[in-house]
């Protein structure tokens, strides 16, 4: 089964019908019904914080009760966190977020090569992105 990493940007674009990329996100998600969707705890924390802020309690509930149960959520272990800190420190001028660095390290260790994401930092890092 194909494993696909799910980024914060994809979760928020799915929720927000006003986002100009929403229909593209929906179409992409609808094609992923047979894939194994994977993310990590920092993405959950980030998505919840933003959804709560912009969509209110109902936004957080939609993530917790509806979207996230369809995704396998991994804890960020010490090895991933330590390597991500080193990546972030080394690339600090680039502006890539720490959560993105955790995601890139997590994907490398889990040998996941494709991400459902609306963030150019992933493609720049050589990740295959959906939608392309």
């Amino acid at each position: 089964m194909t494993r696909i990493f799910v980024d914060t940007s994809a979760l928020l674009t799915l929720l927000d019908r006003a986002d100009p990329r929403h229909q593209t996100a929906r179409a992409t998600y609808e094609r992923l019904g047979d894939a194994e969707l994977v993310t990590h705890g920092f993405i959950v924390a980030e998505a919840l914080a933003v959804a709560r802020r912009r969509f209110g309690v109902d936004g957080a509930i939609a993530l917790l009760d509806d979207l996230l149960p369809a995704i396998e959520i991994h804890a960020v272990d010490n090895a991933v966190q330590t390597a991500a800190i080193a990546r972030y420190r080394a690339a600090l001028p680039s502006g890539t977020s720490f959560v993105d660095m955790v995601s890139l390290e997590f994907m490398a260790r889990e040998t996941i090569d494709t991400a459902f994401v609306f963030d150019t930092d992933f493609a720049t890092a050589g990740i295959e992105v959906m939608p392309g």
């Binding site: 089964m1 914060t8 940007s9 994809a10 928020l12 674009t13 799915l14 929720l15 927000d16 019908r17 006003a18 986002d19 100009p20 990329r21 929403h22 996100a25 929906r26 998600y29 609808e30 019904g33 194994e36 924390a45 980030e46 998505a47 914080a49 933003v50 709560r52 802020r53 912009r54 969509f55 109902d58 936004g59 939609a62 993530l63 509806d66 979207l67 149960p69 369809a70 272990d77 090895a79 977020s97 260790r109 889990e110 040998t111 609306f118």
Partner: protein, 80 residues
């Protein structure tokens, strides 16, 4: 997470350690991955969760439509 104890042959343990080193992950992570591959989540359950997730797609209207694009900035202004 639930804890368990298993017995492996020396050769299985050698291969398990080698794969964990290759992936640079704990041995337990390789075991969990192997379990998911051999005993996958029931397809019906997976489909039900996927269908439920679809009900949340497009549920909100941010107005500006910039929440995902600006999520790093919004997260920075938010109490976590």
């Amino acid at each position: 997470m639930e804890r368990t104890q298993i017995s492996l042959t020396s050769d299985q343990m050698r291969r398990l350690r080698a794969e964990a080193r290759r992936r640079r992950v704990p041995i337990a992570a390789v075991v969990r991955d192997a379990v998911d591959r051999v005993v996958p989540i029931d397809p019906g359950d997976r489909r039900a969760r996927f269908e439920r997730a679809l009900t949340a797609v497009g549920r909100f209207d941010s107005g500006a439509g910039d929440v995902a694009a600006r999520h790093d900035e919004i997260a920075g202004d938010t109490d976590w």
